[in-house]
């Protein structure tokens, strides 16, 4: 300890004054005669490796190999060693000795999970060996196997600890929900912070639209050590994305093109007109009423002999195509000289939607996304010590949507029964009725106009790096300025369709709705962000001691330019200081201190700033002398603890201000009651003690490499307690007059704990067959400790102790068998009940089922507790194949409780009915032992209570991606003037195993959404 302290003091002095004279021997050596080492880096096949990093260990100087794999570096000591690293290869360390030329061979490390590589972390990079934080990285190669325009979907199951769920497949809106280690905040945002090329960039979820081909690496920071530097922004974890940069060498062109055919998954299956008519009669019979349809009429529904009077339409078939298409093309060029390196990329994505167009329609209404993405990253070396990097990226997309929003389309599909109306009238006009069926689903998607959405994103970085080795070795400064703009403009062309009711008897038409003109209006959203940072860094080794440190100041401003209110229009600002200190001893003991000191304008003056410190320590057991097993090559134990904040606490802005409503309701005095002088009222009570959510994160982890890297394993145990969650005070009595505008306070507490792990096994047989298996899993269990809800009258309604998102509902205990069963059961107070209706548990035993019997139903909440992914890769000669599966477990799923769901006649014998309901309903006089749904009884209040009858197990397993590829042998490739050519076929979402069956298991609670696609994707990738 003492030694350590001395060392720190020493270090400070060194930084303060170069060449401190009391340097112990071995720390600094006097410059000796130096010479230039001429080197060559080759791969396992003795092919030169371009742009490999060659570092003079401990000297701070480094270079990159040229296109021929050659490098020159100035060496001062024979004792020095070189570390040569290149993505995809093990870093090779070579002691230089007394040579002038050297050839260094790199051993391939085909898969990413190496411990010995450079890892992007918050505000910098770190070597994986010396890291003590919990960070996982996804292989970009794997992510590219998921052919999707939304990056977040490609991450599903790939990163240990990352929970994703794709709820919708709508073009432009198909990004998955993403959480790191599950939900932790009850009220604030649970979204991770997304940092792209060093800058926080979550503008309208911009990151999900990034072209996957541009990405160099994706990693996720999970524990306090890794995230504390983000201070009051990092509690939900951080997703770090870096994009590709140029390398020294001749231009390397990579061209990739792919085209996919996609099929909607889990489109709701609904009953036909014949079944519908039978169901109506059954409902009436159950209610003791006379049938509505005669057998002859039912026959007409069945045989379709009179499709206008007795229609039978499957609206889902009418609205959706069987399959649609998607195409992506990408051209990337990388290259550069010693002084300028560049990376330029152009991508194009076309994603067609699933809606049918009207071939005779005046306009196209199918959803369709067209996106161009452009990126240019350039590094300039202006002098030996000063370099600039410029990153410019833009994404321009145009998306077409039907004039009616997606939600309404899916509503109408559920609201319209198969017998409601034909698709079109005999004369080709659109049919119409009254109420909900005024416009049928086909008319909704084809004739209500269209919306064209223009999405423009501009992302710019300018960075500078100044090597101050001249001041003291290992010292450098850098600065970064970023300016991002997102503009979303919509041209909205709405039209009210002309609809006509056709009378099949008189063959006449009645106008229901007269066709309106195609309207035009625009809507605009515009966001901009400015970010700046400046940092001083220090990194140096002193014999067995290694030290690095960083101090960084940053400032960020975000403006919603076209906001709806003057408050929302005010810029949101944060600024802060970040510090990091690493100390390594003898490649065995690792210590890392991090702190973020960040301030946010969300909080009152005087309490805007918070300090978020963390400490992490690691022990590389395998570097100890006593470690002499060859079986385990690397074993690292690490642990961390710290505080991280979350200022995305939800609610309005400036919650510390007491506000008065300027435009409160007034009162009309006077003879004509028109002397309204306006009103003023209290609007909000400010909370001057407002602060961020604070997360106390603990993490214990282990990294292991066995059998010379054939097996790698990482495992973590984590615990997080999130305090100070912003909730509106619920315990303030109403009679205070304050309850309606009760202040927000940092009162919520939740706890989240779990384990996660990932493993990889890889091997290449002697005859060149490569195979690998990998997998990861996270189990995170959260529970509400404090929600500020007054203690419930009935203890079984208490949500404390349950996961976030738990529900109250009734516990269904089956169906009433007969009248006698009803008579002897507690009275259900929701309306009349009959045989086959849902029977609920009388929890309080008062022989009556009412809202005292509501209880917590479900165990896990709306997001899964367990998320996993696993897969395998194979390669032999030019062929390669891979498969990847992912899934989740411990998630409750509820069919929607909304009263017009597809679940059979919750309203007056109307609305679509799911086949699932029809096939599994309780039917009078039949064997109902396997019935899953209650008897049909139109408008039953009893059956449509939120209850466990609508609950399903939300677990699933899915073949997320599978790929087969073939690369031309190098010689053949050269003949056609390319370096490399590969063709591939990919499939996504190929198969799903789950218990819900009728809806996608990833969808939100409810009745399904825009289906997610299964795609079969063909592609070609050429580089030259």
């Amino acid at each position: 300890m003492r030694k350590l302290l001395n060392f720190f003091v020493l270090l400070l002095l060194v930084v303060a004054k170069e060449g401190y004279s009391a340097t112990p021997p071995g720390f600094f050596q006097n410059p000796q005669a130096s010479w230039v080492l001429n080197g060559l880096v080759v791969d396992e096949l003795n092919n030169p490796v371009a742009s490999a990093t060659v570092q003079l260990v401990g000297r701070g100087s480094s270079t990159k190999t040229d296109v021929n794999g050659k490098f020159l570096i100035e060496v001062t000591s024979e004792a020095d060693s070189l570390a040569v690293s290149f993505v995809g290869y093990f870093t090779n360390r070579v002691r230089i000795g007394n040579v002038k030329t050297i050839t260094i061979k790199l051993d391939p490390d085909v898969k990413g999970q190496k411990l010995d590589e450079v890892q992007v972390v918050g505000y910098g990079t770190q070597k994986k060996t010396t890291m003590v934080g919990a960070v996982s990285t996804a292989s970009v190669k794997d992510i590219r196997k998921y052919s999707t325009p939304s990056l977040s979907n490609a991450l599903s199951g790939r990163l240990a600890g990352v929970v994703t769920r794709q709820t919708s497949g709508e073009p432009g809106y198909d990004a998955a929900k993403i959480f790191i280690r599950g939900l932790v905040s009850q009220s604030g945002s649970n979204k991770p912070l997304v940092v792209i090329d060093g800058v926080e960039r979550d503008l309208q979820d911009y990151w999900t639209t990034i072209n996957v081909q541009e990405i160099e690496s994706i990693s996720v920071l999970k524990d306090a050590t890794a995230t504390a530097v983000y201070g009051s922004r990092g509690a939900n974890g951080v997703l770090l994305i870096t994009t590709k940069r140029g390398v020294v060498g001749k231009p390397k062109v990579n061209f990739r093109t792919e085209a996919a055919s996609s099929t909607p998954l889990r489109v709701e299956k609904v009953i036909d007109g014949y079944e519908f008519a039978l169901l109506v009669n059954e409902s009436r019979s159950n209610k003791g009423e006379l049938p509505k349809y005669t057998p002859a009429e039912i026959q007409k529904f069945k045989d379709g002999s009179d499709p206008y009077a007795y229609p039978s339409v499957n609206w889902y078939d009418v609205v959706f195509r069987d399959h649609t298409s998607q195409a992506m093309a990408n051209l990337g060029i990388q290259g550069g000289s010693e002084n300028v390196q560049y990376y330029v990329n152009l991508g194009y994505t076309l994603q067609q939607g699933l809606y049918n167009d009207d071939p005779n329609g005046a306009y196209k209404t199918n959803a369709a996304l067209k996106r161009y993405s452009f990126r240019s990253n350039t590094d300039f070396k202006l002098s030996k010590t000063f370099s600039l990097n410029l990153g410019v990226s833009s994404i321009i997309s145009t998306t077409n949507f039907p004039g009616t929003g997606k939600d309404r389309i899916f509503d109408v599909l559920k609201l319209t029964s198969p017998v409601e109306s034909p698709v079109k009238n005999p004369d080709g006009s659109a049919p119409g009725g009254t109420g909900d069926s005024k416009i049928n689903p086909y008319t909704v998607i084809t004739a209500t106009g269209y919306t064209r959405q223009f999405y423009t994103t501009l992302i710019n970085n300018l960075g500078a790096k100044w090597d101050l080795s001249a001041v003291t070795p290992g010292l450098s400064m850098r600065g970064l300025f970023a300016y991002d703009v997102v503009d979303i403009t919509q041209d909205i062309r709405e039209q009210s369709p002309g609809t006509y009711k056709y009378n099949p008897v008189t063959k006449t038409y009645t106008t229901i709705n007269t066709q309106g003109d195609l309207g035009y209006r625009t809507a605009n959203e515009n966001y901009k962000k400015i970010y700046g940072e400046a940092a001083v860094e220090y990194k140096r080794n002193f014999g067995k001691h290694g030290v690095s440190g960083m101090l960084l100041a940053q400032r960020r401003e975000f403006v919603n330019v076209n906001a709806g209110s003057s408050i929302d229009n005010l810029p949101s600002r944060q600024q802060g200081l970040v510090g990091r200190l690493n100390y390594y001893y003898d490649s065995r003991y690792l210590l890392e201190l991090n702190a973020g000191y960040t301030g946010s304008e969300q909080f009152p003056k005087g309490s805007q700033y918070g300090l978020f410190p963390s400490i992490g320590a690691g022990w590389l057991v395998s570097n100890e002398k006593f470690w002499n097993t060859n079986f385990i090559n690397v074993l690292k134990l690490r642990g961390s603890y710290g505080l991280v904040g979350n200022d995305q606490i939800g609610g309005d802005r400036f919650l510390f201000l007491t506000l008065f409503e300027k435009n409160a309701a007034g009162y009309g005095f006077g003879t004509n009651q028109d002397q309204n002088i306006g009103g003023k009222s209290e609007k909000r009570l400010g909370n001057l003690n407002l602060t961020w959510e604070t997360s106390y994160k603990a993490d214990l982890g282990m990294d292991m490499e066995m059998l010379n890297g054939k097996i790698t394993l990482t495992a973590d145990v984590f615990h997080e307690r999130r305090e100070g969650q912003l909730l509106r005070r619920q315990i303030i009595p109403i009679y205070t007059g304050l309850a309606s505008f009760a202040p927000f306070a940092n009162v919520g507490i939740t706890e989240n704990k779990g384990i996660e792990g990932s493993f990889q096994f890889r091997n290449t047989t002697k005859n060149g067959f490569y195979y690998s298996f990998n997998g990861n899993i996270v189990y995170a269990k959260n529970k509400i400790i404090e929600n500020d809800v007054p203690p419930k009258q009935y203890p079984w309604q208490e949500l404390r102790g349950y996961p976030i998102g738990s529900n109250l509902g009734y516990e269904a205990i089956g169906f009433f068998q007969d009248q006698a069963d009803i008579a002897k059961s507690p009275v259900q107070t929701f309306g009349p009940v009959g045989p086959g209706d849902v029977k609920y548990r009388d929890i309080n035993g008062d022989n009556k089922i009412d809202n005292a019997d509501l209880t917590v139903i479900g165990k896990y909440g709306s997001e899964p507790q367990i998320v996993f992914g696993f897969g395998a890769n194979f390669a032999y000669k030019g062929f390669d194949a891979s498969i990847f599966l992912n899934g989740n477990a411990n998630r409750d799923f509820f069919f929607s409780q909304r009263n017009w769901t597809a679940w059979a006649f919750s309203q007056d014998e109307r609305y679509n009915v799911l086949q699932e309901y029809y096939d599994h309903r309780w039917i009078p006089g039949q064997d109902n032992s396997k019935a899953k749904f209650p008897a049909i009884r139109a408008s039953s209040q009893n059956n449509y209570q939120g209850s466990t009858i609508w609950q399903r197990n939300g677990s699933y397993l899915r073949i997320r991606t599978a790929e087969i590829g073939y690369s031309l042998p190098t010689k053949t490739a050269k003949k056609v003037l390319v370096n490399n050519a590969r063709v591939f076929i990919q499939g996504t979402n190929l198969a799903t195993w789950d218990k819900i069956k009728v809806l996608d298991p990833e969808s939100n609670f409810g009745t399904g959404d825009y289906p997610i696609p299964r795609t079969i994707n063909f592609g070609l990738e050429v580089s030259f």
């Binding site: 309701a665 009162y667 009309g668 005095f669 006077g670 419930k792």
Partner: protein
Amino acid sequence: MRSIISLFFISIILFASSCKKDYLNKTPDGDLTLEQIFTSPVYAPQFLSNIYSLIPLELSMVDDPTQPTVSNVYNGASDDIEVGYDGNFSKFFNEGNWNPTIYKQDVWTNSYNAIRKTNLFLENIDKLVPSSTADQGTINRWKGEAIFLRAFFHFMLARVYGPVPIIDRTINLDEDFLSFKRQPINKCVEFIATECDKALPFLDTRITSANDYGRATKIAALALKARVLLYMASPLWNGNPDYSNFKDNDGLRLFPDADPSRWQTAAAAAKACIDQAEAAGHKLYKSANPGDYIKNYQEIFYKNFNDEVFFTRNGTEDYNINAYSEPRGFFGAFWPILAPTQDLVDDYEMADGTRPITGYNADMTPIINPVSGYDEIGQAAAATNEYVAGTRNMYVNREPRFYASIRFTGMKDKWTRAVSPRTTPLQFWKLGLDGRTNNSSDFYSRTGYLLKKLTHPDFVMNPKSAIKHSWIFFRLGEQYLNYAEALNETQGPVSDVYKYVNLIRARVGLPGLPPGLSATEMRDRIRHERRIELAFETHRYFDTHRWKIAEVTDNKSIYGLDVNTAGYNMSSDAFYKRTVVENRVFQKKHYLWPVPQKELDKNHALVQNPGW
């Protein structure tokens, strides 16, 4: 090169230092503070105006969740009216399907929100320095209005919940807000009455400026006081044996023992109100042609701020009262749901003041008073101004207030209206012009009658005319009846009792009450007179409760005509057959509303009302 680098870093430093020190202290411009509101003669009255906006919208008898305040659930839950809309809160009452967690009309929250505003106003209004915009007299008047409103909102609470916490100051977040308890009902009444007295010196006796109609006055305060004291004297609150053991957790009794002298207090308060009102020029409304009794009575309720009116809830827009009462036969009408009950129709006297029906047989056929000349069979031979020839005899020769209050089959409704007058009589049978159109139609008169009183005769549904209506909370006519009732309870049918009831009857051309009635007979007469005179003014709901007769009147079937069978016409006997519309449920616990469970959960010192 070096210079470029230096310049770059210099500019970064400049950039960093040039930013304002309060980088994070940007907050909205133009915020309003409490200080600003109460030092401004413009803002302060706006704060008061906002309190007025929370006065219940009692002209709205159908739930309207878009309104910032509560509406009138009482009429639909009384035996006067059946609201033909199943989602209406009154429906939950009538079926007995309400409990401490089902609250569609949250009187508790609305009233306490308003009370906080009044307290905030009263605690801060003295900051306002008198000026030419608002002189001391004006400020005092505002203060009086706020004191009145605070009492008024406490009354809004007490009349449904009984004992409630009295909140006479603002409660801060840092105090023990759980120390508040429900106060005994007599304390609540005492608070309301005393506050009314306190407001008197600040208030104007009557509104004199046309721009101020709707503001509270001295007479309004006296009327509130008289009403709350009348309630206190009545059996529900005054020594109700059902509540003798109703105590809070500390053993405090929330209802006092009976004290007959409370009737005396109530009578005196009503008399004081009447005397001062009349001294200020208030009088029973008389139109230009008081001999047209029907029109005269109708006009009380739509000639806004006439001489009879003390205090109103002003409308900001055209209230749905007209739309919900408009027979379907009028162009554009589709919500005819405010349907008076047969029970009320039967209660209207004949034109000569005799009661047509004295009771009912087991099969609900009426026992007809033979001397009344009332007849349920046959049709009118001749038309009158009110109905066409062929109108059922049931509706013939009834007292003027019947024709001013009820729309019935055969009525000449709006025949003389200036805009698109109607030429056909009302027809409420199924498939009739104004009846139910088909089986799935939800909105129709479920009794065969629609509301006429309170509506405006010139209302046009389409294009909807914007008629500004006010709802009368207090009027002189009510005080006459309050006084008569209280006086009869304490002194028996003395001459003042006769005098004030007969004034009400005389206005509509009815003969006075027969002399020599016993106190009990007089009580029945007064109760009957209240039901007719004050019909649809929410009094019926509270009267049946405070008289403790709701367990009879609200615990039985509500009847109407047979509006659900097609094929009738104006002369179909079967159409006029009394038919059950709704089987109502009333249990003893329903006399008081339950305190919302969400409030009890927060403060365990609050006790729930008996039976809930």
